[in-house]
């Protein structure tokens, strides 16, 4: 198991695209965390003397300001922070739900498994996005709903994979040993099954994180996600799209940052998958 990780790390290190992407990711994260220290402006102060100003050194508005005079640098970074936070939390949620569901279905097997898989089949047939929008209409835009619904985007595939892996592991000897020593089902699932399905899970996690960040931005872009006064990259892009003609930087800055973030995540994910996957492409 550890040689697999060593091999994978080595392959990853020799992949220039993936390493670049990792660097970009780390820069973005660093920027969102320490950026505000370099810039005196907060994302909420309205600077009436610099409304819709072009990027300039004046007033330390390096990326310009928006319609209300708020510093774009600060707002974009906050937007990035929010997107990253939501992305990670929701990914964690979808991972947990997916792994749990899949492990239980795979381990218990039989009719329970069959029923659970049928459930997944039905859910996969639905256009989840639309249903989630429907839910936001019905229940309003609470953060709580947002986290869970965004998490719902990724867990189905995860559950399927984990269930498949669990089924194949179930028959192996160490499971028999654990059962023989009197371990309960839950304990077996947690301590034995889960550690062994980590491989493919990591692979799909790399697909899920950018998917979720994209989905969150999508919702906020449409006005259905995180809204004023909080900034989210999606909402900022929507604002910027409206001001495209007069103040293009309002679009280019958050749009460019989101694009870079997603691109870096995708490229790094590709690299990670190539490193873990034995087949050469």
């Amino acid at each position: 198991m550890s040689t697999l990780i060593e091999d994978a790390t080595r392959r990853l290190r020799t992949n220039p695209a993936a390493m670049c992407a990792l660097l970009v990711l780390l820069c973005i994260v660093a920027l969102t965390l320490i950026g505000p220290w370099f810039n005196p402006n907060s994302s909420e102060t309205l600077d009436w003397s610099h409304v819709a100003a072009r990027p300039a050194w004046a007033g330390a508005h390096w990326f310009g300001t928006d319609r209300l005079g708020r510093d774009l640098f600060a707002r974009t970074l906050e937007g990035a922070r929010v997107s990253l936070a939501v992305g990670l939390v929701a990914s964690a949620v979808s991972l947990l739900v997916g792994i749990g569901y899949g492990a239980v279905a795979g381990y218990i097997g039989g009719r329970t498994d069959h029923a659970m898989m049928r459930g997944i089949e039905i859910l996969s047939g639905l256009p989840l996005v639309f249903f989630i929008i429907f839910l936001t209409v019905i229940f309003g835009r609470s953060m709580y709903l947002l986290f869970w619904s965004i998490g719902a985007v990724g867990w189905l595939t995860m559950a399927r994979i984990v269930r498949g892996q669990t089924l194949s592991i179930r028959e192996r000897e160490f499971i028999e040993a654990a059962v023989a020593s009197g371990a309960g089902t839950a304990r077996i699932i947690v301590k034995h099954v889960i550690p062994n399905v980590i491989g493919p899970v990591v692979v799909y996690a790399t697909l899920t994180v950018p998917q979720i960040i994209m989905f969150e931005s999508f919702l906020s872009f449409l006005g259905l996600g995180i809204q004023e006064p909080h900034a989210s990259l999606g909402a900022l892009i929507a604002e910027g799209a409206g001001e495209m003609e007069a103040a293009p930087w309002m679009l280019l800055v958050p749009g460019g940052l989101l694009a870079m973030l997603l691109l870096a995540l995708n490229i790094f994910g590709d690299g990670l998958r190539d490193a873990l996957d034995v087949k050469e492409r």
Partner: protein, 308 residues
């Protein structure tokens, strides 16, 4: 073959049924929604509701009425556009979205398949790396970033194309939205075809085709393409789903009067019936797409056709 198709159809019906039922009960559960008894709504809306839903009747009767209405394509009255039924609104917007979506899908296939094939034929050379890098960009960047950027470039700086607006039959107005919509599925298709084509080109029957002295284009088009397209067929339902979700954004930005824009407006305005109708329409479309793909599979691989 027919039996196989009917079995699949039978499997799809429960899914649709669940969606429809879920929608029915969800709407009634909405706090502050149309069926919340504590609500005070404008009298016209209340009157519409009464006549449309028979709110004084027991819930199962309401349910039956609802199902019956659905089968006739009646989704009820809109909550915000007082003079329109949801069905009318859908009828207005659907052709626009259909045009947008089908052109985008066609573009994705017409460009994606050759690009993927080209990359496979130039495996591990510059052309391969170049096209696949572009494909990653196409997949990673969402349409609500691509479209404004395209609009900025082609509309505002270059003045080649209009940024927004819609005139029926106008190609110019469709160009950028279609491009933004088609880019993600196009990129996925290119990657899929490349991988699949590389696989197929290693097959023994391709070796035979070359041994027969057939020219390269014949080998690719007649012998390699159909098996290579199987993964693309599997990808079609997600592609359609991607175009459907993309249309929400693209229509809103570009101001196209399609059902996507109605859906977004409906969501923002809390027009419950409109959104519910949209959800059912989209779901039905997706399920229909899945069934079509099964038929496509049978054509691509005769073994499926004859053994069913």
């Amino acid at each position: 073959m027919l039996r196989y198709f009917l079995t699949r159809l039978a499997g799809a019906v429960p899914t649709l049924f669940i969606i429809v039922t879920l929608a029915f009960f969800l709407i009634r559960a909405a706090p502050g929604g149309p069926f919340d008894q504590e609500q005070t709504l404008p009298p016209e809306i209340m009157a519409n509701l009464q006549s449309a839903y028979g709110l004084d009747q027991p819930i199962w009767t309401q349910y039956r009425r609802y199902l019956g209405a659905l089968l006739h394509g009646d989704f009820g009255p809109s909550f915000k556009y007082k003079d329109f039924s949801v069905t009318e609104l859908i009828g207005q917007g659907f052709p626009v979205t259909l045009e947008l979506g089908s052109v985008a899908m066609a573009l994705a296939l017409i460009l994606g398949i050759p690009i993927g094939t080209f990359a496979a034929l130039h495996h591990n050379r510059a052309a391969d790396y170049a096209t696949m890098s572009l494909a990653v960009v196409g997949i990673a960047i969402p349409s609500f970033v691509v479209l404004p950027f395209l609009g900025l470039l082609f509309g505002i700086y270059l003045h080649w194309l209009p940024v927004a607006g819609w005139e029926p039959g106008s190609l110019k107005h469709l160009a950028l939205p279609v491009l933004a919509l088609a880019l993600p599925p196009l990129s996925v298709i290119a990657r899929l075809v490349r991988a699949s084509m590389l696989d197929v080109l290693r097959s023994h029957f391709i070796r035979t085709a070359f041994a027969k002295g057939l020219p390269l284009h014949t080998v690719i088009v007649r012998h390699a393409l159909r098996p290579a397209l199987l993964p693309v067929a599997s990808y079609l339902p997600p592609a359609v789903a991607s175009i459907m979700t993309g249309s929400l954004v693209v229509e809103s930005i570009a101001g196209l009067p399609g059902i996507g824009r109605y859906m977004v407006q409906g969501a923002l305005n809390r027009d419950y019936t409109l959104v519910m109708g949209m959800v059912i329409i989209y779901s039905t479309l997706l399920i229909a797409m899945g069934l079509l793909v099964d038929l496509l599979y049978a054509w691509l691989d005769p073994r499926v056709r004859l053994e069913r």
